[in-house]
Structure formats: C-alpha cells, structure tokens
C-alpha cells in the first residue's frame, strides 16, 4: 500500500514501484525495488534531480583512463598534484591492467566545475602523456576502433589463448562492423595453418607459442580479407602446459599494420581467466600505441 502524500516512481510490467516520502521537516524517505535493472534508471532519472535541488554545491568528475602503467607508478608520477589539491581532488582506481584517475570538483554548476577541473586535468595529461587513452565512457576498444576508422583501416584478429576475448571486446562496441571484418580463434595447429597460413615448419621449429607463429598469425588474419591491420595472441594460459622455457603466463602478442610487424613477449601472472584478460587488454593497448 502506498502511503498518503507519497511520490510514486512507476515501474514496468507491474513490478514494485519506487516510493519517495518527505515529511514537513524536509526529511526524505526513499524506497526502491531491488533489481539493478529497475533501480538504476529510477535513481538516475528521478532521484538524482531531486537530490541535486537540495544542495548549493555539487560534485562533477572527469575520469581519465590509463593503460600501460601500474597504479603505484601513476601515483608516484602524480604525487605532487594529489598532495596539493583539495578542490578538485584526485583518486586512483586500479582495474585489471588499467588504472582510472577520477578528478572531482565541488562547484555550483558545470561551468564552474569545468574551470576548476581543466588545469588539473591538463597537468595529469602532461605527466602521463600517451598512457592516458581516453576519458569517461571511452574504452580501449572504442578508442582503437575510432583510430582505425579515422585512417580507413580494416581489422582482423587471430587468437589462440585469449580464445575470442579480443574479438568479443571489439564487437561490444556499437558500430564495430564498419571496421572489424573477422576474427579467428585458432585453437588447434590445423586451424592456424588452414585459416591463417601459418607455416607447418614454423609450428614445428618454433612451436605454436612463439614470436614467429604470433607474427604469421597476425599477418595471415589481416591478409585473409585484405585488411590493413591484424592482431594475434598465442600463449600458455595454464594451469597446465607450462615448461621451464615457457612457463604458464607466457604470451606472444603480434600486431600487423600495413606490412609492418611488431611482437611483444609477455609473462602475466594470475589464474587462467586473469592471464587471458591481461593478454587481451595488453593486445588492444599495443594496437592503440602502434597506430
């Protein structure tokens, strides 16, 4: 039963509504349904504007997205700025292979916040340079796709240990289809040879997990449909399969851009899933820096 005087936030499909009650002393009671799909839009669309009206100052943030450098290194590089700032404030968040820097200003409105944020954000860009790949809603994938689109390049992927994770991240970006042509999950040697033209001799001489194989995979993926760019991963995600020479976590990542080939050899730690995540992020970021 909805109490008298309550403001009701409707919900679809006859599900439980949200309820807002305010007494004569200005105290507000808010009740929401539990499922995030129902609660989140209610909060964003209905509740946030109500709360915003209750205060003269608000918080405005810009989030800088960082990849290719660890959290503690970022913290050391920004030490002076972080210590000397009270408005805006700076906060670091470590993600898997990524770091987010949130710069938050307390201000009366967006304009004032922008004026406060701008010089601090500028300093962060000066210190961190190309490690910053984007802001706010940007992802490594969306930034890479934009770069490829701007250059009119087409992309293909060839994955062994990451097993489709890179392709899946790229396809997660709306509109990927004008840049991303195809991906190969070549989980057997036969598939590497048949689809990517990796030479049998390369597999025999150097093994599937090697710089030579990674490079032939990246080139083969690109050339399949005449794409300018190819990216490839091959490695040992574990828990089995490691050797003394190539322990679990050893991954070769190759990038092919218009005839040029690059390859990095990495050693990631973590379990199977973490190693695959780290390799996927590294690969997309490597492509970003080479473009």
């Amino acid at each position: 039963m909805v109490p008298e005087g309550a403001y009701v936030l409707p919900n679809d499909n006859g599900a439980a509504p949200g309820i807002i009650l305010e007494n004569d002393k200005g105290k507000i009671l808010m009740l929401f349904p539990g499922p995030p799909n129902e609660m989140k839009p209610m909060f964003t669309e209905e509740v946030k504007p109500i709360l915003a009206k209750k205060s003269d100052t608000h918080l405005f943030s810009r989030v800088l997205k960082i990849c290719g450098i660890g959290e503690s290194a970022v913290e050391n590089m920004l030490r002076d700025i972080i210590d000397n700032q009270t408005n805006p404030t700076l906060a670091l968040y470590a993600k898997t292979q990524e770091v987010e820097l949130r710069v938050t200003a307390k201000a009366a409105d967006e304009n004032e916040a922008g004026t406060l944020l701008e010089p601090v954000v500028k300093k962060a860009y000066e210190v961190l340079g190309d490690h910053i790949y984007g802001e706010n809603e940007d992802t490594l994938q969306s930034v890479v796709l934009k770069k490829l689109r701007d250059k009119n390049f087409k992309l293909a992927t060839a994955e062994s240990c990451t097993g489709g994770m890179i392709a899946s991240r790229i396809v997660a970006v709306d509109g990927a289809s004008d840049v991303f042509m195809e991906g190969f999950v070549t989980y057997s040697n036969e598939s590497k040879t048949k689809n990517l033209g990796v030479k049998k001799e390369t597999l025999e001489q150097y093994g599937a997990v090697s710089e030579n194989t990674a490079k032939e995979m990246a080139e083969g993926a690109a050339k399949s449909l005449n794409c300018e760019v190819g990216i490839a991963t091959t490695g040992i995600a574990g828990p089995g399969g490691g050797t003394e020479e190539k322990p679990v976590g050893t991954i070769f990542i190759a990038v092919f851009i218009n005839g040029e080939l690059y390859c990095d050899k990495l050693l990631f730690n973590g379990d199977r899933e973490k190693i695959r995540e780290r390799a996927s992020t590294y690969a997309v970021n490597m492509l970003r820096t080479k473009l």
Copy 2:
C-alpha cells in the same frame, strides 16, 4: 607494528600481512589486507579452519545449476519443498539466463550434512529434470565439453553478433583444446562466405540474420576441420540495425551435430552486452540439450 601475542598471516612480496588477535575472553579480532587476491586465500586457508573450530554445527551447501527456465518458474515448481524445509533450507539466485538453487544443511560434519541434503536434492532433480545442468563448480561450458569429450566429438563455433563470446567461454575451461578446434567470428558477409561457405544467394535472399544463414554457418564451421559439432549465432545486438520484421534482440542460433541441423529463433531484451550474453548462454545450453 604487530601487537604482542598476535598470530600473523604472511603475505607475498612484503605486502601487509593479516593479523589475528584473541583476548582471554575468547574474543577474536582479525585484520586483513584489502586486495581480494591477498585477502581471499588468507580467509580460505587460515581463517576458515579457526572459525570452524569455534562452533559445533556448520553449514554445508550443494548448489544446483539451472538453465533454460526462469527464476519465478523454478520457484513455483519448488514451492512445496521450499516452504516445508527448515534444515536444509533452499535459496534461489537469478543469474543472466541462469538460476542457482543453493541447498544448505546445518550439521555437525560433512557426513551428517550429506544425509540431510540428499533427499531434498533428489526431489529438486525430480521436479526440475534436465533443466539442472550441473552442480557447484560446473559451468554450462564445462558440462558441454565433458559431453563432447565422452562422445569423442570435436567442436567448432561460428559467431556473428556474439562476436567470440561463445568461443571465449569455451576456452575459459581448462583442457578445452582436446575438443575445441576453432572458432570463427564472421562479422562481415565476406567472412561468412569465405570461411564458412555460406552461399551468397542465401545472404541475398534471406539476409545475414536468418535461419538459413545460421544453419549454413554452423555446418560450415563444423566441416572446416571435419568436426562433428558446429554452433552458430547471427542476430541484431543493437542499439542500431533493428527493423519491424527483425527488431533489436532477434537472434538465430543453429546447432549442427553429425549431419543434423537445429535452429532456434529468439528475441532477447536488454542492451547490446546483455543480448550478447543471453544469446551466448542460450547457444551453449541449446548445444547441451541437443547432445
């Protein structure tokens, strides 16, 4: 500084240790480092046994994994069992396209718990039948891979809208390489034709998002390296690309098993990522039920 009499839980790399202090009244104070990677193994390996010694009764759970039926339907089917049980108790958890049923017994030891759990779990199997795909650590993928391995079948995937998500889930299972041969992310029509042998006439007459295309994709993926089993998805993940006839969320999922072809047409709701997740889960579960 570590207090006198404290029990220290060591941490790697000189990171902060965990600390356990117990006073003469049996009150325990425990301090842990924050990072989940450091805190979780400390809790499981060191703290859990200490806590277990403090009580005569313990909780033991079996988690039944359910797919292909919604949470409320499961709840209705189990209504009698849920209402009439106090030990063990039953609890339902809704996941994306999946439901978990946790059956928890309070008992002195594992044997006693097993005796309490067995008849209730048996009833749940009688009611839910093949909707239960596994228990505890099982995933749809691990169960499907086991079925394929038992039949000595090899698997290939062909994905359009899911974009490698199915392949990535399969590769997440340790030891997938003896069953999973290759996956194709055919995100352009050219790729569908070149790699999977999808006919140009099929694409022209029915479109890339159609039953015919999905079936030719599944068969083409399987036949590329003579696999017995192929699975394919093609659809509109949105937010753009929907039409009146094929709105956003329309997905065709096809399964090829030793010459037999099956295809389901689905309409999923949610954003781009949720639609892709739901389609991937449906596809793996469809393969499970057809095997």
